[in-house]
Chain length 337, copies 2
């Protein structure tokens, strides 16, 4: 019976989300661009390649340390475009507002969106506003879609990871997800945690500028975290990715809370981080580029790509053991983004 | 106090929607493309002009005579792109699903979307799926965003209506809105009404093909109906539009129900109709083109553009009087689309 309905796990970003897209969406919306399942679609046009992506934001609470639904919605689509190797240019904004929503809060969200758009050098050029009766939506949900241009010579896709490549992350993991968790009703921890929501496009432009052809895959580890992103890349490319637990950057406070709650930071959502799969000879150059950028100060090489093994992602643990990094089945917390 | 919150009227598509966009959204998202307030944004790129548009669909009920939320969502964005004079090419799909939603219904909606995309010759290339806990959204909401290409020589905008131009509608008014109304809980009329949801891009391409430069403004009269669209065009162009009640096409059954309920069909939502403002010498040629197309069989010339008068839109009534066609203040029925 459970198979007859959509469950929260279908929105986790993990295994069941993946299955829903593979089994339900892809066979119907059969399209070569969609089939790549990258962060956005890359489309050939007369004027060159454009990237197109969308996300809807349903985060609860709307306002949280480090940001609100507004910058999350702008940065999220900016980052998905950047993960296609594109320079993000234009955004649309679709809002669904619950009757009775405070104008003050709406103003705050709009201003945050505009500030975020400026920071990412994108323009908000079109939109839509629906208002629904009380109870038909929880406060406000925001969709953004975005268009970017893919520079010539850039060819970034989850299918392009090659044996020998190095795997990099741009900074500490799990900041966004754990921040939201601490802010949820009934879960009020005192903490200094803060969302990492941020635009990654400028850093990605720097990385591509220097090492264009050597950057094979990029992904922003949002819902489902780095564990899920690595699985997606490994599966799409038909390789195995090995990572090393002792190289994975996690802030002390975040690590402590994860430990306390029994949550693996590898599966927690990030909103201002990326995973990069890079040719081995370029790995340190890319790392330097990332370090030079405020959004990549804590970047690390966390692993490498090997021939396809029994499972897509394997981790060497701190104590020297080996652990399978599977896709997460269930959702740790709904409405994380 | 009411000013402190968002009300259903802010989602009506009428006067208060307009004010919300003008007073709250535009000053913050300050952008030349947005400022036109056309159905989508037209953007100059190296490869030519592209159009970009978005809409979110919150219709209740999800399934109704003539369609469901799926074809509404595809046709709606296809039509907004066509109203920019663009050839629609690519769509994104963002779904927000309530936990417990039936897979069967999801499958039905996805299949309808794909069929609608095929019919409109557009590709669904990227998307997003969020699942939220029971009660956080009512069943399913769908956002679509779309990209199209504006052919050279085409210059269509709500600001381009000129004195002497003729005003055309592509068919009967109020079909969609009155159909939804009859299907709402507590309002079960026996009726043969059917939504007019349909893609208009092929008809628009024919119209532009023949009379490109003579088509000055196009708008799809969705929320707020033809009355609102005419006000928007008249205001943007700084003119007055005069229409003639006896030329306005309304199906007999729809007209009857409107009369019974005291609803003016001029303000009821359409999902497969357009308003065109056309140079006088081209009006009959455009009309012929519309008549030749299944979506324009009932097209009519309903009025003309004059110099700016006391009000933006005036109607000559059936009995020869004159009536102001104001923007509607309130919402007749929320969640119409
Ligand atoms: N409703 C849908 N229709 C079409 N494609 C979809 C839909 N939902 C998801 N997809 C596709 O599935 C892939 C995975 O989507 P997903 O939303 O998980 O990626 P993401 O946006 O990078 O992650 P997140 O939403 O957590 O930020 C993408 O290629 C996306 O285009
Ligand atoms: N949240 C928003 N952010 C930016 N622009 C917006 C927003 N909401 C509406 N707009 C802009 O306001 C104008 C009117 O939008 P509206 O949604 O009424 O048009 P439409 O899509 O043609 O109508 P409908 O939504 O009834 O189909 C458009 O130019 C749109 O881009
Ligand atoms: Mg992504
Ligand atoms: Mg995303
Ligand atoms: Mg709209
Ligand atoms: Mg429109
Ligand atoms: Mg629209
Ligand atoms: Mg997504």
């Amino acid at each position: 019976m459970k198979d007859d309905t959509i469950t929260l796990d279908h929105g986790s970003g993990g295994k069941l989300s993946h299955r829903l897209i593979l089994d339900t969406v892809l066979p119907v919306f059969d399209d070569p661009a969609l089939r790549c399942l990258d962060d956005g679609a890359v489309l050939e046009t007369e004027g060159g390649r454009i990237a197109f992506s969308t996300d809807t934001y349903v985060v609860d609470p709307l306002f949280f340390p480090g940001g609100n639904i507004g910058d999350l919605a702008v940065n999220g689509t900016v980052n998905d475009l950047a993960m296609c190797g594109a320079v993000p240019l234009y955004l649309s904004v679709g809002m669904i507002i619950e009757e009775g929503f405070l104008r003050r809060d709406l103003d705050g969200i709009l201003e945050t969106m505009q500030r975020a758009a400026r920071a990412a050098s994108v323009r908000i050029v079109t939109g839509d506003t629906k208002v629904v009766p009380r109870g038909a939506v929880d406060k406000i949900f925001i969709n953004t879609a975005g268009i970017g241009v893919v520079p010539e010579g850039v060819c970034v896709s989850g299918r392009n990871a090659r044996i020998g490549d190095r795997v990099l992350v741009s900074g500490t993991l799990a900041d966004h997800g754990m921040t939201i968790l601490t802010r949820r009703e009934g879960l009020r921890f005192e903490s200094s945690l803060q969302s990492d929501t941020a635009p990654l496009n400028h850093m990605v432009a720097d990385m591509l500028d220097d090492c264009g052809g050597d950057i094979h895959a990029l992904r922003d580890p949002t819902r489902g975290g780095v564990g899920t992103s690595l699985n997606e890349i490994a599966e799409s490319s038909g390789v195995t990715i090995r990572i090393h637990e002792d190289r994975i950057p996690v802030k002390r406070a975040v690590a402590g809370l994860c430990e306390l709650l029994g949550i693996d930071p590898l599966y927690v959502a990030n909103e201002g981080k990326l995973v990069a799969v890079v040719a081995p000879e370029a790995a340190f150059r890319v790392l330097d580029r990332m370090h030079a950028h405020p959004m990549g100060r804590d970047a690390r090489i966390i692993g490498e790509v090997t021939a396809a093994d029994i499972v897509p992602v394997i981790m060497t643990t701190r104590i020297g053991g080996t652990r399978i990094v599977d896709m997460p089945t269930g959702e740790q917390l709904p409405r994380i983004c």
